[in-house]
Structures are given as C-alpha cells and as structure tokens.
Amino acid sequence: MATTRKSSAARAVTELSEFNLKMARGQEMLNRLKDEDVQIATADKDVVFRQDKVTLYRYRRSGAASIKAPVLVAYGQVGRYTMTDLQEDRSMLRNLLSLGVDVYAVDWGNPARGDRWLTFEDYVDGYLDECVRFICDAHKQKSINLLGICEGGVFSLCYAALHPERVKNLILTITPVDFHQDQAEGRVNHGLLNIWTRGLGDDDIDRLIEANGNLPGELMSYSFSQMTPGATLSKYNVGLFDTFDDEKKLLNFLRMEKWIADRPHHPGEAAKQLLINLYKNNELIKGKFQVGERTVRLSDVKAPVLNVFAKDDHIIPPKTTQALGKAVGTKDYTEIGLDGGHVGVFVSGKSQGVLPKGIVEWLRKRD
C-alpha cells in the first residue's frame, strides 16, 4: 500500500525537529568528550633509537611472527606517521602486527628553523639509513622490508636505489614518482598541488624558504584544504553535523582532525628539493635526482616492489605513482589499486582488512 505523502510544510517541520534533536545530541556529546578521549597512535610501542629529532619506534607484537624480516614504516615530512595508527579499529600498524609482522615506524619529529638545512641526503643516507642499520643489527639480518608512505615513499625509493643491499622488499603506498603525470587521467580535481607548484618560479620557492626557514606546516595545510573546497567549506557544519548520529562517528572525526592539525614544518632545503627538483623538474623519473653527491636511478631498485595507490587520490593521482612500473630495475613489480582517496587508504573502515592483508600476503611469498 502506498504511503501518504506528507505536505511540504509537514516535511519541513519534521526535518526541523530532527535537525534540532540531532544538534542537541551533538552538543551533549561535545560537552562530554575530553581531549583524552581523542587519542591517536595508541598502539603499544617502545622507543628503540633516537638521533637528533628522529625517533624510531618498535611496536609490540602479541602473536607469533609470520614474517621473518621486520617492516620499517617511513612516512614523509608532509604530515606524520600517526595516521597509520589513527585509532584501534583503523590502524594499518595494528593490523600488520596482528598478522604477525614485526613493525617499526620512524617519526621525523618537529623540524624547527635550525633544521632548515636538512636535505634528502640527510633523511635518506642519514636518519633512514641509521634506522635501517639499527633494525638489521637488532634482528641480525642484512636487510629489511621498507614501507614508504607518500613522501616517505620517495625517501624509501631513493634509499632502495642507493642502498639496495639493505632492502629485502620495498612497499610503496601513495608515492609520487612521475610528478608530471598529474593530468594524465583528465580528472579536474586531481593534481592541483602539481599545477600550483609548477606555477611558482624557482626564486619564488627560494624566497619562501628563505623567509620562513622551512616550508610552514600551516601553508601545507592551507593548500590541502584548498584542494577540496566543497569538503573544506562543509567540514565544520554539515560534516560535523553528520557525526552527531553517534559518538563513534564523532570520535573518528575528531581523531582525524587531531592528525590533520599536527602538521610539522618541512625542513627548508629538503622542501626546495621536493618542490623544485621533484614537483617542477620531475627529476626522479628522469634519473637526474641528486641525493648528496649521488644520482638516484630507479633502475638500481632491484628489490621486489609492491606499489599501492588509491584510485581516487587527488593529491597523488594514480598515474603519477603507476609510472614506477616501467622505471624500476626489478621484474618482481606488483601494483594494488585500492578504492578511496589519499588518506582513506589507511583510515577508511573499508580498507582496514584490505591493505595490511595485501601487504602481508605479498611479503610471505618473498620472505
């Protein structure tokens, strides 16, 4: 039997009433929640190595090991590794641990003005190498599995090319390789960061870094917000309102906010390399990128490579990362394209089982 359709006025009154109730529920939840309820990166871990501002964590695995070689997770300087362990039920690190992987993660710390001179060389040949060697020594192994995320993927890629003997398997997630493939798919919301960076002169970037010392975290946050104008406009009204249905959703929202707000400055000289040498000049795929006195040649990457990308990644469009397939010097190259956007690959509910499982299955065959 067909239901009787309400009049417009009746529907408006009903909607208004539901709106008010939801607002009241939301207000009540926000009043009750405290900062300690919104913790991120809470998986059990130990500090095992420190150098300057860099900290290496080892995560505690409760079950039996299923992979012999440990995995080192390297995030970039644009954001922080805590995204990989946002909350208990949305944590790539916890999922890897539960699948029997020994997991380490490196935190680059909070670069300040004094760190402006740090370059890719310092991160790749310095800090990352120190961490890898430490893990190798601790596990009495010659090489480890390296898992790079975003710019951390670029660090990892450079490391694998320059120190191939130390990388057993290379896993890259949402990692840009060919920075000029951003418009290859013709999707209008993709690659804005690439367009904007190419619009800057080298001297504009030099002056920006000279004036600020580093690439300010606030500027990066602003750029990311601007890339999704609709979402940014509606975030603290419609978006927040949507979470007022239940507390779990609201907590997810707040934890994500906490991660976004924690955006460190990017060391100046390394930022210049990222923006000029990579984003503008596209030197990585061209085999011209210099790390210290050495040139990174992707053909020197001999370890098996698993390249994971997000099909709707507007920051690192799929084609920019898929370009790696033809450039690496290994035939053991695998790609996994996951549904979702840049960060969604790690934090969305849907991806939780998919990404870690895919990584572990791939590793088991190459352990």
């Binding site: 500090v47 964590y57 003005r113 010392g213 509606s234 210290g292």
Partner: protein, 265 residues
C-alpha cells in the same frame, strides 16, 4: 596680432608678448652702439650686453616652455590614472610616492635606515595589493558558483530537504572553485601573493637585523649560517663514517637494554 599669439598654446602667446616688450624697450640697431664701441665699458655697451643676456635668457625659457607645453595637461591617460580606484583607495598614490623616494639618489649611509623602512612600507603595500587581487580572483569563482547555482537549480527537480539543497549547493561551489583553482589567473595571483609576502618578511628581517647588529645580538642570518655549518659538518662526519664502513652510531646502545615504554592511552 602676431601668429604666435593666435596659437592656442598659452606659452607661445606669453613668448610673443615678451619679445614685443623687449623690442619696444631696445629698438635695434641701437644708434650709438658702433660709435662707442671703442670705449668698451661705456654705459651703452653694458646696456647692450644686458639686453643680449636678457634676450638669450628669454629665448631659453621660451624654448623650455614650448617643450613643456607639448605635454598635454589633461590627457585621457592622466585622467584615467586620476580616477583609478586604486588611487582613490590611496594605495597607488602611496606606492607611487614611495617609489619616487626610493628611486632617488642613494648615498652610502645617508638616510639608509629611512629607506629600509620606506621599502618595507612599499612591500607591505604591494603585499596588500596582491592579497586584494587574489581575493578579487577568488570572488570571480564565487560569482560563477552563484550563477551556476541559480541557473542549474531552475533546471533540476525541487529538492526534498534542506540537506539536499546544501549538498547540491556545495557540489556546484566545489566544481566552480576547482575550475578556478586550475586557471592561470588563479595560479598567478596565488604566486604573486606568496612572493610579496616572502619579500615583505625578508625586508622586515633586514631591518630587524640592523637593530640586532647595533644591540650586539646575533642576527637571523648569522644563526642560519651557524646552523648550516653544523649540518654540513655532521654530513661530513657521516660521509667519513660511511666511507670507513662504520659501525652504527647510536645514542642508545643496545635496543633491548635501552627500551623505554611510551605512555599507553
């Protein structure tokens, strides 16, 4: 009436008047001029020299006046400049005035501090102008978004709820702004804004560093250079260590012994 007085140029009229006056005062040739030439410094000779000097002076002035008179007093360009909005806002006037002062002769130390401050003021003005220009570009995107909302909402079925209205509006705004963000105009406006903000900060630093020098305080540049030296030295040490196939240099010795647990939530 002379030909020049008929001219519409007021300078030429004035010149003709002056020449007529001179002629009436000193009709040429002067009757006693050749006869008294031998006396040299006679009153007549002096008077004659004075007349020539006066004439020469008038001719030079008139020549200059004629050249100046060729520039139109109220050209369309100057009127346009006079009524340009940025002039009304004062920005162009200040900027122009500052530029004239800053472009003037520079001396080694004289007024250097004042010039630095004026330059800072000029850069602040430019930064504000670039921010305003950026906002103007953004406003275009919003105008387009509103137009799109207005036209498309007429074509689409009537929304069933406020949420449907909000979602539709956001989607159209998102599309319009992304279109704008991809445009050369936006990219250039954003670049200029970023550049002028950097330039302003650097000029600010220059002034602060001048104060630091006077007050015996290390400057930002000096500290930067010091930090650069430290980073480069560490890099050198690392390279040497790597060259010697070094052992891991760590601050924590053995991982198991030094393990410290982080706080659990």
């Amino acid at each position: 009436m002379s030909e020049s007085s008929n001219s519409s140029n007021p300078w030429e009229g004035w010149l003709a008047g002056q020449q007529a006056l001179i002629k009436s005062m000193f009709p040429s040739p002067l009757p006693q001029e050749s006869a008294d030439a031998t006396s040299g410094d006679s009153l007549q000779t002096q008077f004659s020299e004075l007349r020539d000097a006066w004439k020469e002076s008038i001719e030079k002035w008139s020549d200059m006046a004629q050249r100046a008179g060729k520039a139109p007093a109220f050209s369309p360009e100057s009127l346009q400049s006079l009524f340009a909005p940025e002039r009304w806002a004062g920005a162009g006037v200040i900027d122009g005035a500052l530029k004239r002062v800053l472009d003037g002769p520079k001396f080694a130390t004289l007024f250097d501090q004042d010039r630095q401050l004026l330059e800072l003021q000029r850069l602040a003005t430019r930064r504000d102008q670039d921010v305003a220009a950026f906002q103007a570009v953004l406003a275009k995107g919003w105008t387009k978004a509103y137009e799109r909302v207005a036209t498309q909402s007429l074509k689409q079925p009537k929304p069933e709820s406020w949420r449907a209205v909000a979602d539709g509006w956001l989607s159209m705004v998102n599309d319009s702004l992304i279109e704008l963000y991809r445009s050369d105009e936006f990219v250039e406006a954003q670049r200029k804004m970023l550049r002028s903000a950097s330039d302003y900060r650097l000029q600010e630093r220059k002034i602060a560093e001048a104060w630091c020098e006077v007050m015996h305080v290390p400057t930002r540049t000096e500290v930067d250079e010091l930090q650069r030296s430290v980073v480069e030295l560490r890099r050198e040490v690392r390279r040497l260590r790597q060259a010697q196939d070094r052992k891991p240099a760590t601050v924590t010795a053995k991982p198991a012994a030094k393990r410290t647990r982080t706080a659990r939530a």
